[in-house]
Amino acid sequence: MRAASWRRARPLLGTLVEIGVDSATDGADVACAIEAGFARIATLQAQLSRFEPESEIARFNAASAGARIPIHDDAAVVLDAAAVLRDASAGAFDVTLGSGIWEWRVEDARVLVKLAGGVRIDLGGIAKGHAVDCAVAALVAHGATAGWVNAGGDLRAFGALALPIELRDENHGGVRPFATLADGALATSRGVAPGGELRHASVAAPTCLWADALTKIVVASGQAEHPLLARFGARGWLHSTQALAVA
């Protein structure tokens, strides 16, 4: 049996973000840690969302060719990972959504360079995972010893707990048991592959940034055991997207 469990949820990152803390420590400290987790996510949203006009990403999108946009550490971490995956997947992982796969680069982890006028970045496929990782770090920094952060299905568990995971039936609603997760991340993604096929995939990885990003590789390639997954210590699943016969 777990110790006292605290759960809160708020609308952030365009989805519902849940923070849970299993803790025997004082309630006020737990509430404070959870608040810090949500605050960290709100800060990241302000920096990385293309929908926030003042974000580093929105500024890049609005800029002309040749622009050099100063970025903070979080944008640098996410964009570095995006570049690694883009290069390793021959462009299959693309944060520009086809507007200019190779037309951006990060210099010295401080400057985002726009190489062509039309290129626009959307970090929707990777930044949520990073936000989950950062919220976990904030929780731990505030004394939380075990818990989880779940941003609409991109989730990470930490400390001494085994989190039961349920998978939503995307066709009919309802959930069914899928796995238990301890000390790691699991992300789930549904998308249309280049050939038009609908795919639904999950990836488990040590951190949520990689779990989140690698689901896109599995969806795009149709390979649950794509070689890139092993490289990042990850494991993938493709779920059935067939209509289910059971009501």
Binding site: M1, R2, A3, A4, S5, W6, R7, R8, A9, R10, P11, G14, T15, L16, E18, G20, W148, N150, G152, G153, D154, L155, A162, L163, P164, I165, E166, L167, R168, D169, E170, H172, G173, G174, V175, R176, P177, F178, A179, T180, L181, A182, D183, G184, A185, L186, T188, S189, S202, A204, P206, W237, L238, H239, S240, Q242, L244, A245, V246, A247
Partner: protein, 182 residues
């Protein structure tokens, strides 16, 4: 990283799906979280008449419900703001939430009160919804429960965002007509 897959995909695909629910906060707990400086909360029902609903619609806001439960947050004689309870229905989920709005009309905080994930059919049953909407009875924070997290495709929060916009408009309208008695 330790991941144990409890059911293989093929078996899981034909197992009947279960429902999923979690209660985060009661409305009263949320009100206190949103306005921690309040020394008391006064219960209000916000009811809009047909003319007010039409005014909402004219402003581009669909007035889906004509009645909301609210609490005025006070510290001494000063009004700190108002907390309103509402619920929205997504594709397969029901979300109840509380919105805190300060005395200047700005959103202070949104707290999710409860979440229900179900079969598509159940979501639209009025009985299911009543159970969900009226859930303000005092209950402690969940302790040691085993309800699992959901890992699914990203939930759409469009309905939630629409709901919040509607509440902000409703509160502004009720304040203009003096209906809140603040």
């Amino acid at each position: 990283m330790r991941l144990v897959v409890t059911t293989v995909a093929a078996a899981a695909a034909f197992a009947p799906a279960g429902a999923f629910a979690v209660d985060y906060l009661t409305f009263e707990q949320a009100a206190q979280l949103i306005f921690p400086d309040a020394d008391r909360f006064e219960a209000r029902e916000i009811a809009l008449d047909a003319t007010q609903l039409q005014a909402l619609a004219d402003g581009g806001v669909r007035g889906r419900s004509a009645r909301w439960t609210a609490r005025i947050a006070r510290h001494g004689d000063a009004v700190l703001g108002i907390v309103v309870a509402d619920a929205v229905i997504g594709k397969f989920e029901l979300i109840s939430y509380a919105v805190g709005i300060d005395s200047a009309g700005a959103i202070r905080q949104i707290e999710i009160l409860s979440y229900r994930e179900s079969h598509g059919g159940e979501v639209r049953l009025p009985a299911w919804r009543r159970q969900f909407v009226g859930k303000t009875a005092a209950s402690p924070l969940r302790v040691g429960d085993d309800i699992a997290n959901i890992s699914g495709a990203t939930l759409s929060c469009t309905h939630l965002a629409e709901g919040v916009r509607r509440i902000v408009a409703v509160v502004a309208l009720a304040r203009r007509s003096g209906g809140l008695g603040e």
